[in-house]
């Protein structure tokens, strides 16, 4: 489990970068998330977030994701998500994050062509 201070591993697959998110996504994990995103964005144009290990997201975590999406948008990068629980998938729909970050059920579907 990644916590503040650690670095998140960025994997690459099929020309995309995959970031495995920590169990909590909130203000305390903002720095590691942003660092991982910067690293991934330097290598590729398509970045996929793996929410499979995420147990908790709060409003500050949503703000972190919004911040990353804003950067990606400015840079013309594509951000995808997979492995979301039904609860957080609902929250992404209510907040409309899903309009700007396509949600896939699995890693393989997230890496496929759109």
């Amino acid at each position: 489990m990644a916590t503040a201070g650690e670095r998140l591993k960025v994997r690459s697959a099929d020309g995309a970068a995959i970031i495995d998110l920590p169990s909590e996504v909130d203000a305390t994990t903002e720095t590691v998330l942003r660092d991982a995103y910067v690293e991934a964005a330097a290598a590729t144009r398509t970045i996929a977030f793996n929410f499979g290990g995420v147990e908790y997201i709060n409003s500050t975590g949503i703000a972190v994701i919004v911040g990353i999406l804003a950067r990606a948008r400015a840079a013309g990068h594509v951000v995808r998500a997979f492995g979301l629980s039904d609860h957080y998938r609902e929250i992404f729909e209510i907040t409309r994050l899903s309009d700007f970050m396509a949600i896939f059920p699995s890693e393989s579907s997230a890496l496929g062509p759109r």
Binding site: S59, A63, F100
Partner: protein, 538 residues
């Protein structure tokens, strides 16, 4: 005697020869429809024709030659070739005549002829009278049967378009009563299921009775049923239905109608009224009327309908009704009246007991053997009183960043430990976490020595979580949908999702201040609440 065979024709004989000049005489009343045979010229004698009086006072057969009377009937009889008229009198009434043409022998009718005719008339008159009475009675029976059949048809239409059952609304007692008058008026009521769990309530009354009223009722009901899901807003629904009915409806008819939209979860009632009897709401402080103005449907093109809104709190009840009850009369002509209806409404519990109570009051008022004057329609919805909430957990946490998770986990544990099956637990957890974070950060500004209070309560159908901070002097902004586009474009800060999330995760969110303290109360329904199927959360 032979002469009779040719020249004497019974007044109502269907087979009189066309050549025979003497035919039909007066019925008892010329106004009554008579059975004509087109090939037989006949003579009607109007009841006020002087000939009637003349014949009544005549001692026997009357020769028309030389008779001087200003009588249309006399002219007609002469024109038909009648020479001799024999009055048929029963109980002082002229019920017919024998009309005779010229004697076959070309002579005048002899004294013997006249005597014979007079005797014949004396015997024929009572027989004719009996025949007339039988025929009248038969006609009456037929008319009554037609009327009965029309009533049956009107009943059938009416029954066809009334709801088979009342809707099953959790937390509400719903009951309806409809009893047509013998003459079947045009009362109707309806429940329409709409989007978001809202329910449309309709009660109406068509002017007039019988089949025409029943048909207009059916049309109105169908129009409301088809427009309500699309337009939803009660004022718009009535305006549209008025548009549809106006022009299509007979000019002497109109429909009074109340349309209300109930949000059963919140108890919110929006309504508009097209001239219908005002609904009543029973509150703790007494019974009040719900007022909204508007013309009855079908009277005027482009009618506009004001909308009003009220909240039915737990324990409060609504009564929709038609005038059949309030305008019922006692034998002494006193009217039941709206004030009495209002009093009775305040006296009874909601649901079926209210309807039973109102009908008993009506029975007492009218007494036995009352013939119901108009349709009676009663629809009542009462919101169940909230069961007393029981506390299942109460604790405080210091206002330290991260403690929102402690609050979240302890609230979830308390709910589970209380044995409450909560399909939307993941939602409550998210809402509690956000509310606690808001209290720590904005209410108590991270002052660790200022605690955040948490209380978890449960009723039979709700879980309540109250989170208290010391921000009593600070207003909480209204939750609104954040502008994601502006945030993504860097025009707004990425934060600001907390209140919006809370509002979307629970069924209700109430904020109140109590001196220095501020309490945010989260309400989650245990069933029938927000989707209810959210047990899929992580």
């Amino acid at each position: 005697m032979l002469s009779f065979a040719r020249s004497l024709r019974w007044v109502r004989g269907r087979h009189a020869e066309p050549t025979a000049p003497s035919v039909r005489a007066a019925d008892r009343s010329a106004a009554r429809p008579s059975r004509r045979t087109p090939e037989t010229p006949h003579v009607d004698i109007a009841p006020n024709d002087p000939l009637v009086m003349y014949l009544l006072s005549a001692p026997g057969p009357v020769a028309l030659d030389g008779l001087r009377l200003d009588s249309p009937a006399l002219r007609d009889l002469r024109a038909a070739g009648v020479k001799l008229v024999v009055p048929l009198v029963s109980q002082g009434e002229l019920i017919g005549t024998f009309n005779l043409g010229p004697h076959l022998s070309d002579q005048e009718y002899s004294v013997d002829d006249r005597r014979l005719l007079d005797k014949l008339a004396a015997q024929a008159a009572p027989a004719l009278r009996v025949a007339q009475l039988v025929r009248e009675q038969e006609a009456e029976v037929r008319a009554r049967e037609r009327l009965e059949q029309e009533l049956r048809l009107a009943h059938l239409i009416q029954q066809q378009f009334l709801p088979r059952k009342v809707p099953d609304l959790p937390g509400w007692q719903v009951a309806a009563f409809y009893r047509p008058a013998r003459q079947v008026g045009g009362d109707f009521y309806d429940f329409i299921e709409l989007a978001d769990g809202q329910i449309g309530l309709v009660v109406g009354d068509v002017t007039g009775h019988g089949v025409p009223a029943a048909l207009v009722m059916a049309t109105t009901r169908s129009a409301i049923r088809s427009e309500a899901p699309r337009l939803v807003a009660p004022g718009a629904v009535l305006a549209r239905v008025n548009e549809l009915l106006h022009g299509d409806m007979p000019s002497n008819m109109f429909v009074t109608c109340l349309f209300a939209l109930l949000d059963p979860v919140r108890g919110r009632l929006r309504f508009a009224n097209a001239g219908h009897d005002l609904p009543y709401v029973r509150r703790a402080a007494g019974v009040v009327e719900l007022r909204a103005t508007g013309m009855p449907l079908g009277i005027m093109a482009d009618s506009r309908y004001a909308e009003a809104e009220t909240i039915l709190a737990p324990g409060e009840g609504l009564l929709l009704h038609s005038d059949g009850l309030a305008e019922a009369h006692a034998p002494d002509h006193a009217m039941f009246g709206f004030p009495r209806l209002r009093d009775e409404m305040g006296r009874h519990q909601g649901g079926q007991p209210l309807i039973d109570g109102l009908l008993e009051a009506l029975d007492r008022f009218t007494g036995p053997g009352w013939a119901q004057e108009d349709d009676i329609t009663l629809v009542t919805l009462t919101r169940s009183a909230r069961s007393e909430p029981r506390e299942i957990a109460s604790f405080v946490v210091p206002s330290r960043a991260g403690n929102e998770r402690v609050v979240m986990d302890r609230v979830a544990e308390a709910i589970t430990a209380a044995g409450i099956d909560m399909p939307g637990l993941a939602r409550i957890k998210t809402a509690v976490s956000e509310a606690a974070m808001n209290a720590i950060e904005h209410g108590n500004r991270f002052s660790e020595d200022v605690p955040v209070g948490v209380q978890v309560l449960a009723t039979d159908d709700e879980v309540l979580v109250r989170i208290t901070d010391s921000g009593g002097d600070r207003a909480m902004p209204e939750p609104s949908q954040p502008d994601l586009e502006a945030k993504l474009a860097g025009k707004e800060k990425p934060r600001g999702w907390g209140l919006f999330l809370i509002k979307n995760m629970v069924d209700d969110m109430n904020v109140r201040t109590d001196g220095p303290q501020r309490v945010i109360e989260l309400v989650a329904r245990r069933k029938g609440g927000r989707d209810g199927d959210s047990g899929r959360a992580s």
